[in-house]
């Protein structure tokens, strides 16, 4: 009787089993597969719900325990693949630490997933660290000809490579994310792109390619006629010595993208030589080149100038490249005119001058929306590889680094020298200005004052200040309300940091 009443009580209180199967499967699909499978032990109702989960999330780690443990784990994966319902696998995420121990199985697992019409495949395959393993895991050929694969994320190392078998591959692949883990042979990366990606719409390459030895040159020829978004976020820095005098190997990297429909282009870290054949289509470009300072090698100035020429028709531009503010470079490499530029986000590091502001304003006659971000933390050359490389890193997180650190602020002279001629966009079209990372220094107030005074069609100026103290904000507010304004309809809005 006791067990009966217990069952009855459970029947009353058990809510989760009452959910429809589709929802239970949906819940299990967020779990790592081993936990989803474990639910078959819960009660009769849960007996084989796990077999309907269309996603497989497999984490195997040969460092964890002895041989016995990882043999059992692989046995579990084999069994899951065997006894699962025949329905297709929607997403397969295989995270393996110690590919030398799971070598043959990895291939079998991937092939099985492909046979079950996998749509999204994510492969995180790593060798155990400090391992003298010299083998090479080549991703199976069936990946490249899989008709159902739409999303692929993989990691290329010197032990894991992916070489397409012929000139046309991935017939349905729309999203490709490649992470490079030093040291990757540049050749193997180039080979990955040796075929035509007929359906690809978004490509992300990130990580660190490491040192490019000797005469080695990386030619990335990306052929993707439908490509809409391209993100190049990898660096070329020897991981064992990021401060090496021979620095980054960007000068040896050439990215040649045949992407006539490219809409968005993001570059972080890497100032390679870019050729994009997307003159008309580009709408949004983001350049984040933190390590590139004034006084750098003129070679970089040349490259960045070439890059600006490539993206000259862009509508929205976000730039973090202090090198632009270098007056010598500005003189030698005049900025092209961005006729279509409607929105500009100019991000200035603590070490750079205000010079880039008039340069960009002069180059954008049709600018309507300006975001000016100031006081971005600047570290020594090449040291930014430890930036968190998240796909969706919210750059507003940089605010935390606006708090001054070791860099001695007094040494930096920030001077605002107003241009001789007021930029056209200020007079005719600039409607909204957004100032971020504002500290209330005298030069910042001068700049803001200049913009307010000459901005004849300004509607709104929003100032996001990093000052915490109420009084200083009140002072600022008063100072600002006394500044002359060129536009009668201009409002000023203040945003304080959240505590």
């Amino acid at each position: 009787m006791d067990s009966n009443s217990k069952l009855f009580k459970a029947w009353i209180e058990d809510r989760i089993s009452g959910l429809p199967d589709a929802i239970v499967v949906h819940i299990l699909s967020f779990l790592e597969t081993r936990y989803a499978v474990q639910t078959c032990l819960l009660s009769h109702r849960w007996n084989n719900v796990w077999t309907y989960v269309p996603n497989l999330e497999v984490h195997v780690n040969s460092l964890k325990c002895g041989v016995d443990q990882h043999v059992r784990e692989s046995g579990l994966v084999d069994r899951v693949l065997l006894f699962r319902n025949l329905s297709n696998i929607h997403k397969f995420h295989l995270a393996c630490l110690g590919i030398e121990d799971y070598f043959y199985r990895i291939d079998a697992w991937i092939c099985t997933a492909i046979r079950r019409n996998v749509v999204e495949l994510e492969l995180d395959l790593w060798t155990t660290p400090s391992n003298s393993y010299t083998g090479l895991l080549k991703l199976p050929r069936s990946i490249f000809i899989c008709k159902t694969l739409v999303v692929l994320k993989l990691v290329l190392t010197d032990h894991v490579i992916a070489i397409p078998p012929d000139s046309s591959c991935f017939p349905s692949l729309k999203y490709l994310d490649v992470q490079l883990c030093h040291p990757v042979a540049a050749k193997s990366l180039a080979k990955l792109f040796s075929c035509r990606y007929s359906a690809l719409e978004e490509l992300i390459i990130h990580g660190n390619i490491g040192r490019l030895r000797g005469d080695e040159v990386l030619n990335l020829n990306i052929s993707a006629p439908r490509l809409k978004r391209l993100q190049i976020r990898f660096c070329a820095v020897p991981e064992d010595d990021p401060y090496a005098t021979d620095g980054g190997y960007e000068y040896k990297i050439f990215v040649n993208a045949n992407a006539p429909n490219l809409e968005e282009f993001n570059v972080k870290y890497l100032l390679a030589s870019y050729t994009l054949n997307s003159v008309k289509s580009l709408s949004k470009v983001e350049l984040k080149l933190k390590g590139l300072h004034a006084g750098e090698n003129l070679y970089f100035a040349d490259r960045i100038h070439k890059l600006f020429a490539e993206i000259v028709n862009v509508k929205c531009l976000s730039v973090l490249a202090s090198i632009v503010g270098d007056p010598d470079i500005a003189y030698q490499y005049p900025m092209p005119t961005f006729n279509n530029l409607n929105q500009l986000e100019l991000r200035l590091q603590t070490c750079c001058s205000w010079q880039s502001l008039p340069i960009f304003l002069n180059a954008s006659p049709n600018l309507e929306y300006l975001v000016l971000e100031n006081n971005i933390n600047c570290r020594a050359h090449g040291a930014d590889i430890d930036d968190a490389d998240d796909g969706d890193v919210d750059d507003s997180d940089d605010y935390d680094s606006h708090i001054s650190d070791n860099y001695d602020e007094d040494d930096l002279v920030h001077e605002w020298s107003p241009p001789r001629v007021v930029p056209i966009c200020l007079l005719s079209c600039l409607k909204t200005i957004y100032l971020r990372g504002f500290r209330g220094r005298s030069d910042e107030i001068e700049v803001a004052g200049y913009l307010l005074k000459h901005g004849k069609v300004l509607n709104k100026v929003t100032i996001h200040t990093s000052n915490f103290c109420e009084e200083s904000v009140m002072e600022l507010w008063q100072t600002f309300s006394r500044l002359p304004r060129g536009s009668k309809t201009c409002e000023i809005e203040w945003i304080l940091p959240k505590l």
Binding site: P20, I23, S43, P54, S87, F103, D107, T112, V150, D392
Partner: protein, 344 residues
């Protein structure tokens, strides 16, 4: 957020929608909040209901007034377009803090209203609760009835390690691993790669095939030199190797599905007979026998691969009748859709 400019509040004529829950109670909700739910939105647009108390929209049974309140709070926050991702995330994290019973009710209700973002949010929360717990703990948390017999509970655990095919496969892999390690040690010695690997695979195939007398392995495919490769293999040989590896894994996997073969029971017996002790490398075979076994194995593999889908159906229906309870699934049984920008 303090603003330097006073916001001017304009008196607006807000419109309301009337909703009726299963217990009969009616409440009114701001239109834009209610419209955030796809099901309500559809009702309004298609049938025109909800504009007055008499024509209140009846909500599905799974939505009781308490849960409806929660859902409306969610909608009220999220339907405001100007919010940043961070704000939404923070709200969600706070919102989801409730006991599991309520969470389940909320999931159920959100599903019936087709409010997918909320379904995802609650499902993830429930998944997080389940994750990492032992079955007993999960049963405790959710008050699940403990209605499996002790035997049934042990079954899956036992099967994972005791399934003879899995055990066999483990042994084969262990063997390969060991040989790999030995080869690594003897790096300087140029030994002709004898494909002891291949033999193991064929062992398996012949074993499952009905034990064609001699279960000693033979060489069929070309040697797998994968592990000794330098970093830049030539394209031809690498493709070859790759292709071989593929084929082998395919035959391996397909071989496993062969549950219904009549000889399988006798194979269990054979399993103990075949000597799988490590280091047992036996090479002296009659070449003619070798050839024959070669052909048989290839034939077998081909047959398996060609009518594999039908066999699978057959095998599964036989093998799983014990376990399979009818489950009603919608479509492909998944509530998840592919999102093209699924960021990590």
């Amino acid at each position: 957020m303090s603003e330097g400019v006073m916001a001017v509040v304009k008196p607006e004529m807000k419109s309301y929608i009337w909703l009726q829950t299963a217990d009969g109670s009616i409440q009114q909700v701001e239109e834009e909040v209610a419209m955030f739910c796809p099901m309500i939105c559809r009702e309004i647009l298609q049938t025109g209901m909800g504009s007055s108390k008499n024509y209140a929209i009846s909500l599905p049974q799974r939505v009781n007034p308490a849960v409806l309140g929660l859902i409306l709070d969610y909608c009220r926050f999220h339907q405001v377009p100007g919010r940043s991702n961070k704000e939404r995330k923070t709200f969600d994290e706070k919102f989801i803090r409730m006991d599991t019973k309520k969470l389940c009710e909320l999931t159920s209700a959100a599903d019936s209203l087709q409010l997918k973002p909320l379904v995802d949010l609650t499902s993830r929360a429930l998944a997080r609760i389940i994750e990492g717990k032992t079955p007993e703990e999960i049963r405790e948390t959710f008050h699940l009835p403990d209605d499996l017999t002790e035997e049934e509970k042990l079954e899956p655990l036992r099967n994972i390690t005791d399934d003879p095919r899995i055990r066999l496969l483990n042994r084969l892999y262990a063997r390969k691993r060991k040989e790999l390690k030995e080869r690594e040690k003897l790096k300087n010695v140029e030994v002709e790669q004898e494909c002891v690997d291949q033999r193991s695979v064929d062992d398996l195939l012949t074993f499952i095939n009905g034990g064609n007398g001699d279960s000693k392995g033979i060489k069929t495919n070309k040697s797998k030199k994968k592990n000794r490769r330098r970093k830049d293999p030539t394209k031809d040989s690498s493709n070859n190797v790759n292709g071989n590896c593929n084929k082998e894994s395919e035959t391996l996997s397909s071989a496993f599905h062969d549950e219904s073969r009549p000889s399988s029971s006798s194979n269990l017996q054979d399993c103990t007979i075949i000597d799988f002790d490590d280091g047992d490398v036996d090479d002296d075979l009659d070449p003619a026998m070798k050839e024959q076994l070669d052909r048989e194995v290839e034939d077998f593999a081909r047959r398996l691969n060609s009518d594999w889908p039908e066999r699978m159906q057959e095998i599964l229906s036989l093998g799983q009748e014990r376990r399979l309870a009818p489950i009603n699934m919608n479509g492909n049984g998944s509530a998840r859709r592919y999102k093209s920008l699924d960021r990590r």
